[in-house]
Amino acid sequence: MSVTRVLFRVYRPIILPFVAIIVVAEVIAATAVASAQDLGFSMWLVLGGQAAKYWLLVVGIILIAMQLRQFVVNGATRHEFLAGMAVFGLVLVVGWAVAIVLGHGIESAVLGALDKQGPDYPTFTAGGALREFGQQLPVSLAYFVSGATIAAGFYRWRAWIGLVVMVGGAVPAIVADALLGFNEWGGLTHDVPYPGALAASLAATALVAWGLHRAISDVPIRRTAG
């Protein structure tokens, strides 16, 4: 069985509860706020967008700190693991970016039907959906790569080198958040044009991903992280 398929089997009991928790939290929080006043922002963009990137950061950390050893011990090469992890991560990232757009669409439709949209609420539009997808995708990807790289630093090297690697590993997440992070209205938090912001974010992510590959491609398989 491929590394990617095994990863999905292993993470299925984690992914499904996470999605359920976010959806339930969205319903409860949106209902609570909407019962008091019209919603002036998208609760889904706040909950889903923020929670997903931190969750992917943690998944990236766990993959290196816990799963790398498990796969190599069971006969996979480091390269096979990294390739499988990349596909797994991409599917999660793309899947959640789609979920963000769909969730916003559903939220917007429900609030509209209940006449609970405030004047500032970011009503769902096709253009807005495309922009949200285009922002969520690179941000999630950057957090995933940052998580994996931070863990790789501590897994491969001593703690103090790991700290240095952690700073470098955090760059994609910081750049993506600064340039592409969106607020509760779905808008960019700065004035950098989207193409430039996207290019800078992807470049930082690709560079650190390359470093991650270099760090893991011949890493000794230790019993524990650190």
Binding site: N74, G75, A76, T77, E80, S217, I221, R223
Partner: protein, 293 residues
């Protein structure tokens, strides 16, 4: 054929394995012996591609082993600590191995878990030291990997469990021949399983021989203390035991037929030498022999 060519493993400035060159024909059970810190685990880590050697190369059937999917898929390295996450259940570990290993035998794994009385629903964190070792044994044997490496897998296992492990290992090896490398300190307990013995000391290869040849390198002479003392004079003594007036001396010497006849006429008996006695002699600091092969 498994070939190690000039394999050197370093941890910073510490040289754990120093320029080891070794040919291991496949389809045999090897005993890897060495004192604490001699470099056994480091050598096995290089053999299993868990660690890239600082210098040298490991080849399996002519192909470089490191990061070679075909080789790594067919290699199973079980370390003395169970390589799993503490929160994993035994059942999950078995499933994982089944997903990843093409030669995995789930029925055999279930049988072994039953034999070692391991509850598959238990988490690794709740297993005793011996039970964790037993799970390692199950993972190693049921993987049926063409190259199976067991590094002090017996740690914490009681005598009954160890006996069951040795019996299963031999039976399964006979039914499914493959290359098995056993690293152990319980030499006498496992010596009968070894077809070949590899001894390393301070990171260097000291000896690699057929077990029978190794046993033939020495002899144990037993008889009246005085007669034994007279007979062994001038030969290297590997070890000795005395009980009452009877003395048993292990010698690093292969006596000729007329020597044996002379000894027997003096009331002495001759027996094979223990691998452990040879090991102690070869790795003792005072009397180091040159590596053979």
């Amino acid at each position: 054929m498994i070939e190690l060519r000039g394999v050197t493993v370093r941890y910073g400035r510490t040289v754990a394995v120093d320029d080891v060159t070794l040919d291991l024909p496949t389809g045999k059970i090897y005993g890897l012996l060495g004192r604490n810190g001699s470099g056994k685990t480091s050598l096995l880590s290089a053999l299993a591609s868990f660690r890239r050697p600082a210098f040298g190369v490991v080849r399996v059937d002519g192909a470089d082993a490191f990061e070679n999917p075909a080789v790594m898929r067919n290699t199973c390295f079980i370390r003395d600590t169970l390589d799993c996450n503490e929160s994993d259940k035994v059942r999950q570990l078995m499933c994982f191995a089944g997903w990843m290993r093409p030669t995995w035998d789930a029925d055999y794994a279930a049988k072994l878990l039953d034999l070692f009385e391991i509850n598959p629903r238990k988490r690794a964190s709740s297993l005793s030291r011996g039970q964790k070792s037993a799970v390692g044994v199950v993972l190693g044997l049921a993987s049926r990997a063409p190259l199976t490496i067991l590094d002090e897998t017996y740690l914490g296992m009681d005598a009954v469990a160890r006996a069951a492990f040795y019996r299963e290992l031999l039976e399964d090896y006979l039914a499914h021949p493959r290359t098995i490398v056993l690293s152990t300190h319980l030499i006498e307990e496992v010596a009968d399983l070894f077809e070949r013995v590899v001894i390393i000391d301070r990171g260097r290869l000291l000896l690699h021989e057929e077990t029978d040849e190794l046993r033939g390198r020495g002899v144990t002479v037993t008889g009246p203390a005085a007669a034994v003392g007279e007979f062994v004079a001038g030969h290297t003594v590997l070890g000795e035991q005395s009980l009452g007036g009877v003395r048993a001396v292990t010698l690093d010497w292969h006596p000729a037929a007329d020597d044996v006849a002379r000894g027997e006429s003096a009331g002495l008996t001759f027996g094979p030498v223990g691998i452990q006695d040879l090991f102690i002699h070869l790795t003792s600091r005072a009397e180091r022999l040159e590596a053979t092969r």
